[in-house]
């Protein structure tokens, strides 16, 4: 019994990965990638009825696990809040933060973290009840505005209103769902959030979606992506090229469905990408030759992941918009994988 207690205690108090060490080695030693996620954001990271994690951020994490360990399920998801997320990363509690985190200069410069890649381009929009008849920000002078503290939205409201010399009353909520229900109950005149968030809020929570309009002007830029500690350049490269590989796979039309065929019968470029060519594509990053094949076969390409979690294959039904491939007029662009 005593042994059991000591063993249990040591399991709980175990030393984490040293923050300054080689993350890839730690991940391989632990046999899993530990990702910090939101846990309560549909489409990005949430749990389904079977308790299984799903979402765009979750799939990014799974892709990293597939690339580094060959197993997309070798993941551990740690729920983080907007206050605890960077501490969790800095202290080594998590290997990568995949928590719809906006890349900004101050976060990148001050927090000791690096943004490895962008997986989702978002922006801030205002939603108002249609019967207010508001069509532009200028008409919102003196409005009560629902915001979450410490978010990009809070800063955007501040700058948008002060630039125009307008007044507003911020009404602060800790929880996005409380904020939404307060907004739909009429507690505030406007709701500012990322446009993706607004669309999903309106589609799922509004008593009648037609009663609310999202103002056409989108403010600010919210490029979101996985974040890593800045003292491990190789790990950052691995995370970045995992995302680029998913985008490249979509560009080349490689899907989880046809990846096996493509590996056999595709062009030399595709064979090389999927680890069936002459050169070892995993060598530069210290990964297996088939790392891209593992990502695409187990998780899918960027387009599949987007459709499954946010796009037409999901209840959110968000158009690709800015998140279409660059050749389709969007911003998603991967540097060449060669």
């Amino acid at each position: 019994m005593r042994t059991a207690i000591i063993l249990s205690a040591s399991a709980l108090l175990a030393f984490g990965q040293p923050a300054a060490a080689d993350t890839l080695e730690n991940v391989q030693a632990a046999g899993k990638v530990t990702c910090g996620v939101n846990g309560s954001r549909a489409g990005f990271s949430s749990i389904d009825s079977q308790g299984r994690w799903q979402g765009l951020d979750v799939d990014t994490c799974r892709a990293i696990a597939a690339a580094t360990l060959g197993d997309a399920e070798a993941t551990e998801f740690v729920k983080t809040t907007s206050q605890t997320r960077f501490t969790a990363l800095q202290t080594g509690e998590i290997d990568v933060l995949t928590r719809n985190t906006t890349m900004t200069y101050s976060r990148d410069g001050e927090l000791g973290v690096d943004f490895a890649a962008i997986t989702f381009y978002d922006g801030q929009g205002f939603m108002v009840p249609a019967d207010l008849g508001v069509t532009s920000i200028e008409e919102l002078d003196g409005a009560a505005i629902c915001v979450l503290p410490g978010t990009t939205a809070e800063q955007v409201v501040e700058s948008v209103f002060s630039e125009r010399g307008l007044n507003y009353t911020p009404i602060v909520f800790q929880d996005a769902k409380e904020l939404s229900s307060a907004f739909f109950a009429g507690r505030c005149d406007a709701h500012i959030q990322s446009s993706s968030g607004l669309a999903s809020t309106r589609a799922t929570l509004a008593p009648n979606p037609e009663d609310y309009v999202i103002l056409p002007k989108i403010f600010d830029k919210d490029p979101m992506g996985p974040v890593v500690r800045q003292d491990d350049a190789r790990w950052k490269d691995i995370v970045a090229w995992t995302v680029h590989a998913m985008v490249t796979a979509e560009e080349m039309g490689i899907t989880s469905g046809n990846v096996d065929d493509m590996r056999e019968t595709g062009s030399d470029t595709i064979k090389r990408l999927l680890g069936a060519g002459d050169t070892d594509i995993g060598a530069p990053l210290g990964l297996n030759a088939d790392w891209i094949y593992q990502i695409v076969s187990q998780v899918g390409n960027y387009g599949e992941v987007y459709d499954r979690n946010l796009g037409s294959g999901s209840p959110m039904n968000l158009a690709r918009g800015q998140n279409a491939l660059w050749k389709d007029g969007g911003l998603i662009y991967a540097p060449p994988l060669k």
């Binding site: 709980l12 984490g16 749990i47 079977q50 729920k79 605890t84 501490t87 080594g92």
Partner: protein, 371 residues
């Protein structure tokens, strides 16, 4: 010396003894219509009830959608409560992100803890052995929840739902009770340094809201630990909860210590007892008996306080329910899911408060018998 004043009011006229053969009808009449005012209030409330009850019953039972065929069934006009959300999501609400195939382990751990509480509920089991039993029980629960030794290994970040709530609660009380005893005795101690340390700890943790304690535990401690060391998030939260509970419970126990007449201490000393025998055989049994109701009250609060851990990113029962409701298809029916949550919380807390009043009566009786 002032002169004593004797004051007599009018003599209360004698009343007939209450009738023993009162029928149900007369008892009801006495309870509901004793005075005209009472009668009026009863009528108004009955009317209100009659106004609301049919709608409520219709919503909650008759028109309710029970099975998770499709969330669309709940949106049909005339559909009542959407209990389908509970039958669809109860696994997530109860177990959070715990791996689906391993739910039996979490269920077993939960039952073990409940069994432990039932066992501890009987005053005849209140022996030093109880602490050992709880340590063994918690070790068993940890094995079930963490795996190893033949079970699939899991991490505390997989924990969630009701098992997490119960483990946090059991951990808080198991470690918090000895801590509170220690702090209470320390605060009354004759050793100044020890006394001041105990006072400092009690006042620090009583002076901070639980939310702040949890944020300190989850944000500051990891930064102080420096490179490469992390303490599990769950353990950090538990330590915060234990310190908070210990500080409050120790003040309750101190109340019990102060309620004892000084003569108890003096006669124990006169019998030649040194500090620990005096405390263990004379003082604490009496002091703790006095404070049992207040302690149970604090324990109930500790149970409800576990829901605070949601703010540092742990999926307790409430957090798991919120996470389950993130599903866009079901998010509209959060009311029904929260009603289920309320029912579970109420079942636990109400049982505990009924228990508190039972144990209070029981201790009272045994005290009277002892005298």
């Amino acid at each position: 010396m002032s002169k004593a004043i004797h004051w007599c009011g009018t003599v209360v006229p004698p009343r007939a003894a209450p009738r023993r053969d009162a029928t149900v009808w007369t008892r009801l009449r006495n309870a509901l219509f004793r005075t005209p005012m009472q009668g009026a209030i009863t009528l108004v409330l009955a009317l209100l009830l009659a106004g609301f009850a049919p709608g409520l019953v219709e919503w909650a039972l008759i028109d309710a959608v029970w099975l998770p065929s499709d969330p669309a069934a709940c949106t049909e006009p005339g559909a009542g409560a959407c209990w389908a959300v509970v039958s669809e999501k109860y696994r997530v609400m109860l177990f959070g992100a715990f791996p689906y195939s391993e739910h039996w382990r979490a269920l077993l751990a939960m039952l073990l803890i409940v069994a432990g509480f039932v066992y501890s509920a009987f005053p005849r089991h209140w022996r030093a052995r109880l602490a050992a039993i709880w340590l063994g029980l918690l070790a068993l629960v940890l094995w079930l929840m963490l795996g190893g030794f033949g079970l699939r290994p899991l991490s505390t970040s997989d924990w969630g739902g009701l098992p997490l709530t119960l483990i946090l609660f059991a951990g808080t009380v198991t470690f918090g009770m000895p801590l509170s005893l220690f702090l209470a005795l320390g605060r009354e101690s004759q050793l100044p340094a020890f006394r001041w340390i105990c006072i400092g700890m009690i006042e620090l943790f009583r002076g901070l809201p639980l939310l702040v304690v949890l944020f300190l535990a989850s944000l500051l401690i990891p930064l102080f630990l420096g490179d490469g060391m992390t303490i599990d998030k769950f353990v950090r939260a538990l330590v915060g909860m234990v310190l908070f509970f210990g500080a409050y419970a120790s003040e309750i126990i101190r109340g019990g210590l102060q309620a004892l007449p000084r003569g108890q201490y003096e006669s124990a000393r006169a019998l030649g007892l040194t500090y620990w025998p005096m405390m263990i055989t004379v003082i604490l049994p009496q002091a703790l008996r006095i404070v049992v109701p207040a302690l149970v009250n604090d324990i109930i609060r500790a149970f409800k306080n576990t829901s605070f851990v949601a703010v540092i990113g742990l999926f307790d029962f409430l957090g798991a329910t919120k996470a389950a409701l993130e599903d866009p298809l079901w998010v509209r029916y959060s009311l029904e899911a929260y009603l289920f949550l309320i029912a579970v919380y109420f079942a636990f807390c109400w049982t505990m408060s009924r228990y508190a009043s039972w144990v209070e009566r029981r201790l009272d009786i045994s005290k009277r018998r002892g005298e």
